[in-house]
Assembly symmetry: D3
Homo-oligomer: 228 residues x 6
Amino acid sequence: MKGRLQFLVAKIILLTLASSFVSGYDPSPLQDYCVAGVQDINGVFVNGRFCKDPKLVTSNDFFASGLNIPGNTSNRLGSFINPVDIPGLNTLGVSIARIDFSPGGQIPPHTHPRASEILLVIKGKLSVGFVSSNDYNYTLFSKILYPGDVFVFPIGLVQFHANVGTTNAVAIGAVGSQDPGLIAVGDAVFGSNPSIDPNILAKAFALNINTVKYLRTVFAPEDDIVNE
Amino acid sequence: MKGRLQFLVAKIILLTLASSFVSGYDPSPLQDYCVAGVQDINGVFVNGRFCKDPKLVTSNDFFASGLNIPGNTSNRLGSFINPVDIPGLNTLGVSIARIDFSPGGQIPPHTHPRASEILLVIKGKLSVGFVSSNDYNYTLFSKILYPGDVFVFPIGLVQFHANVGTTNAVAIGAVGSQDPGLIAVGDAVFGSNPSIDPNILAKAFALNINTVKYLRTVFAPEDDIVNE
Amino acid sequence: MKGRLQFLVAKIILLTLASSFVSGYDPSPLQDYCVAGVQDINGVFVNGRFCKDPKLVTSNDFFASGLNIPGNTSNRLGSFINPVDIPGLNTLGVSIARIDFSPGGQIPPHTHPRASEILLVIKGKLSVGFVSSNDYNYTLFSKILYPGDVFVFPIGLVQFHANVGTTNAVAIGAVGSQDPGLIAVGDAVFGSNPSIDPNILAKAFALNINTVKYLRTVFAPEDDIVNE
Amino acid sequence: MKGRLQFLVAKIILLTLASSFVSGYDPSPLQDYCVAGVQDINGVFVNGRFCKDPKLVTSNDFFASGLNIPGNTSNRLGSFINPVDIPGLNTLGVSIARIDFSPGGQIPPHTHPRASEILLVIKGKLSVGFVSSNDYNYTLFSKILYPGDVFVFPIGLVQFHANVGTTNAVAIGAVGSQDPGLIAVGDAVFGSNPSIDPNILAKAFALNINTVKYLRTVFAPEDDIVNE
Amino acid sequence: MKGRLQFLVAKIILLTLASSFVSGYDPSPLQDYCVAGVQDINGVFVNGRFCKDPKLVTSNDFFASGLNIPGNTSNRLGSFINPVDIPGLNTLGVSIARIDFSPGGQIPPHTHPRASEILLVIKGKLSVGFVSSNDYNYTLFSKILYPGDVFVFPIGLVQFHANVGTTNAVAIGAVGSQDPGLIAVGDAVFGSNPSIDPNILAKAFALNINTVKYLRTVFAPEDDIVNE
Amino acid sequence: MKGRLQFLVAKIILLTLASSFVSGYDPSPLQDYCVAGVQDINGVFVNGRFCKDPKLVTSNDFFASGLNIPGNTSNRLGSFINPVDIPGLNTLGVSIARIDFSPGGQIPPHTHPRASEILLVIKGKLSVGFVSSNDYNYTLFSKILYPGDVFVFPIGLVQFHANVGTTNAVAIGAVGSQDPGLIAVGDAVFGSNPSIDPNILAKAFALNINTVKYLRTVFAPEDDIVNE
């Protein structure tokens, strides 16, 4: 069993996602479309993605399928994110994902550093919320959502979604970005590669060092794999 | 019967939409959130929306419901757009809408001047596509979509969605903007208020003047209501 | 004779234009200048253009000539667009074009998906206008322009210019973009490559199928040339 | 006689310009148009301009005239800038101006802090150029321009235009901004209100203090009018 | 004793900060300056700040003092942030702060949702770092810094700074924003107002409910003060 | 001795700076980081910088040292700018520099075309100021600064800093850009390569031709080195 949120996301999809998505606060497209092509030229990248020859672009570059298929939620958190992987999204500043939750499943506290999100519940009963920054004194805005309900999560703020119903739940998350990024708080703080100095974390969270070490086993069970 | 696309959209929703949405190529939010409040101060507006006092913001400002309810597609085009109306979307650069189609129904050729769109089919069988600008020689990119399929429409390009199945169809459209704007080509060209000079349109489309006048009855059946 | 608007534009100029222009809502320049160089590296492109070595940049990279020369308006629409082609415009968010009209000539209803336009009449008498989106109920704003008059066309909205005088007319159009893009409505809707399903168009415009087929002969006389 | 460049610009036009123009690297428009209305609400301003009620917008809000009329070049520099003043330009990121030059007249070294410029010569013979920043070692790019010629000036760089022909000259300058701003180097350095310490300027330019004081009489003949 | 990071910041400064700062990915300034004036007009706000009359702007609007004064680090975390409070920063996309650390003091794991940061050590020995998002697999980049050393923290990523020397430490943090926002992870997750459901947090972090409740006493010792 | 401001900047640092910095009004980062790698691919550049393979990025890519070391102010202007050179700043929209002044030393009137600046005095007594554009009538805003004082300089406006104390002075300048650019007015106007026509400059500044030629010996003592 693996605690990291990113492992909830189908690996093959995520690998593509990591490279092909760019932000909703992106620069505007500078032509009708700039379909992501090769990822690098001899190891050299650009901000965003290189584009393929527009003469070689086809309809399939703007297409993906499979968001009707439930994700596998058999993991510690009981959830699964299935983002679309469409090369034609490059420079267009929008994307979408399907999120599945088993009963009691959750997407734990996380931020998207590069986009706001709007969540539509398709099935089930979700408890969702976000917390403001210190500018507005860490205020929690939360709501119980049912099918057809929509909730908005501002860019960069800590948010969560939890299935508080008795059945599986399904939601669609749209983001104003091709690659919103995902920072699960637990993974970033307690499961980074390599780990943040446990003494710093112990003081930061007023926890004893053993609890910090326990949390590392939760979020980085294979421990200290640098740049894995 | 009324041909204009905007009448397919529930009127009360649209009125709010017209004022509360702002673009996905918006300026970034300058604080955690800037929830749309009053529309004007003594008739004076701003680019986007004025915001309410952050101390008065509540969870409901980020919430909407009803996207599980089918829209009324009893109109000439057999379709209905139900965009969400959430004041908290102001400055966040993303939005979502439900689109219903009766069998044979369509969202006719249109553009969104201020956002790219990503469409997810929930039910039914849609023929969708967009056409490039003259930079890429008006190339059509199109696809038949089934449930779980996704298609992307770049900002500002002419696009359409048509139900080519035998049942009702439902799709979710997400846009990288709070107010993508909607320009149905027929409405803008043949149904404007007041009308564009029919002689100019006749020459533009190589149609005789009677056909242009007929098209006006389709797209502006009440005719020439100036700045209504 | 060819009905497509893009053929009104000198072909050699357009080909360069299609590749060298980028948008006025572009990312800002990240250095003093980024003069467009090669279009691609082994078939790989970027959003916008690759730049040439700044050490090889010369004054001619910021220069073009010929806007004093009347364009050839011997075509169905009686008009001609001559945009400048200047590699140094890359990333700078502005451009300019000369537009010629024979008596009765017009630039038919079109949009620029990536820039607003400001038009200055140098000679003749033009009827110009634009139509709002459904947000403002497809309102037409129009004006008769004489030499020295200026009119503004907001980004993405349907606009037209028609010579309603008895002499040739000349105008200068400036845009807040290196590549505003041009979508002539008739070309995009009725003349795309390949064509949009005529049945979809017939329903969209409440036209019989024969009129749609006729319109295709107007806007794509050579028919269905894919990615020509 | 007054040396300041801004006095070359018709005063009534400039006053409006100062308040109604906003930048080409502006935030995008958040609706079809946001026509500049009142300048302030009880002394309170916004970044850019407040907008008038969209229901009160008319075609005249997008219109200006008079760019066919020669400006009065009877001033020390022999030049005159006539920018358009159109409330509808607010948020649209583009503008245009007519520039007149008497023989030997010039627009002296200046920058536009908020836009790139593209210049089209209508009449006469101009020597124009710009100088890179220290990134590219203060390289001068210059050219002699004749009618129909076009030259591009990147945002923020020092540029100049001088009539080197024997007749009056006329040019059209388009900028990717509603308010590019104008900083005439001589006015800003030697003619500010109040003046920069003459000792600092003397050292900066390796001039003796008397030359600095003489330059002040050129650029601020009425001297030290604070916040006039 | 109070655990919340924001209480480390001088309260009077913070209150002003919360309202007067705007983001480094701000819209560009649309005039030379837009000095923040009143915060609201009858309870109505804008994205960013209203500006005062430019005719009333003085040099003091661009000025602040006091960054030479050590902050009071007598708090649980042993640190203090003193951001500047300058109305003239409005729309300019940059700001600066002084950060003091007692020996062993730290700025605990946090994000800035609206800006990247660059940190310059003036005095002492700091251990600093940031963790990538899941796109790059939660990689930690960290460094020990000495006086004159500089480290960069990308926008939105989890970062920390800890004094690992034996003396007080001082650093200057510059951000590409007027209001970067500050989200201390512990405060947002365990100390929000009201609290996130402890059961959700217990599952998210694989902690027992008592540890979650203990963490709430650390981060919100006065508990559940709604919208305080 | 060389009068050009850029020679005050350590040459090796500047050369790197010229190529590795990009603007604070940059496009947002499209991934967590985009560390500047090679400058060009076979002589081909991009707007900003190509990035290195994210898998090869290390902590040192976000690090620089040496801002504790005084710069060499033995030059005509008695000042020295030491900007940091950090590849990881690419796309992040912020940077920082140390500025040293000998008694009487100054950074002469200059602009940053691509960023606003905030200046913090560490040591000494500085007279600083900026001048508005003609929009606000070339108003000077200035202040005497002491250690701990901060002053803001809006993007693109003419600014200066002069040591008016009796000791060396040190300041930290932060900018909302990776490459703000630096245009020293004297260098750009009187010291460009090649020179602007002295007759144009003589008229622009109402100076006799000999004074213009003298100024050239100050700002370009080696004269007319084209594209050096």
